[in-house]
């Protein structure tokens, strides 16, 4: 028999690790599944004659549409609670990060609520993404010359 204290120690020792492992498995499976869905959509759009770039854009738009609809119906939060980064790292997470505050802050009005809060997470992503792309572009330009 083990005492309650010993048992608590054992739980403390093993639980953070195992929850991380479980979280990673869930993130892996759900994240992978979202990418497989993206791949199927890509095949479908290509089948209907879309060129490479167009098919890619259509896949992104479709996944964004699905994620925002699920956000509106309040389902996306449940998926994130379950899958963590599996749902938030794909483009679906970006879409959710725009839609969720847009809906949530509707009560603060359409200008400073919806219009402003929409970019509370997407803003930094776009700011740092575009600035780093400019740096990459500047280096590329001068290396080419």
């Amino acid at each position: 028999m083990i005492s309650q204290q010993e048992y608590q120690k054992m739980v403390q020792k093993s639980s953070p690790k195992s929850t991380t492992f479980k979280n990673c498995v869930k993130a892996f499976v759900v994240g992978g599944a979202i990418c497989v869905l993206g791949q199927s959509l890509y095949a479908m759009y290509e089948h209907f004659g879309a060129q490479k770039d167009l098919a890619g854009s259509l896949v992104a738009i479709t996944l964004i549409f699905i994620a925002i609809a699920l956000t509106g119906f309040g389902v996306f939060d449940n998926i994130v609670n379950f899958a963590g980064a599996g749902a938030s790292v794909p483009i679906t997470g970006f879409a959710n990060a725009v839609a969720a505050p847009a809906i949530e802050f509707k009560k603060e009005g359409f200008i400073l609520g919806v219009g402003a809060k929409m970019f509370i997470i997407a803003g930094p992503v776009i700011v740092y993404g575009t600035i780093s792309s400019m740096i990459v572009g500047a280096i590329y330009y001068f290396v080419q010359k």
């Binding site: 992978g32 738009i61 929409m118 792309s133």
Partner: protein, 117 residues
């Protein structure tokens, strides 16, 4: 086969994100920024495109793929239009995704009511 690679690579990228969440306590905004900038850098040096060619949506659907698209767009626009491409290329390439997210989120804000807490 393409589907298997999409699953494995896409899943693996999400696991990196999950490890960052669990081990570093970074907020999701910081993680998204980190992933996008990582995608831009990997795209800038030309590594990420190989991953996209190999794993398809497994590399393009995660937000790192958005970063790669920013870098790719800038390079293509510089090739096409010259120096102005540094300024215009990134947003041009990612416009569809950003506009879709903005306009659909606006529509969602019109349609749906916030959850009362």
């Amino acid at each position: 086969m393409q589907y298997l690679w999409a699953f494995l690579v896409g899943g693996a990228i999400c696991v990196i994100g999950q490890l960052l969440i669990d081990k570093t306590k970074l907020t999701s905004a910081r993680i998204l920024v980190f992933f996008v900038v990582a995608g831009v850098i990997l795209g800038g040096v030309g590594v990420y495109q190989h991953l996209v060619d190999f794993a398809g949506a497994g590399a393009s659907v995660p937000i790192t793929g958005f970063g790669n698209l920013l870098a790719k767009g800038v390079k293509e626009e510089i090739d096409r239009a010259g120096v102005i491409g540094i300024l215009t290329g990134g947003l041009k390439a990612t416009a569809a995704g950003i506009m879709a997210a903005v306009v659909l989120s606006f529509a969602a804000a019109l349609i749906f009511q916030p959850k009362s807490k």
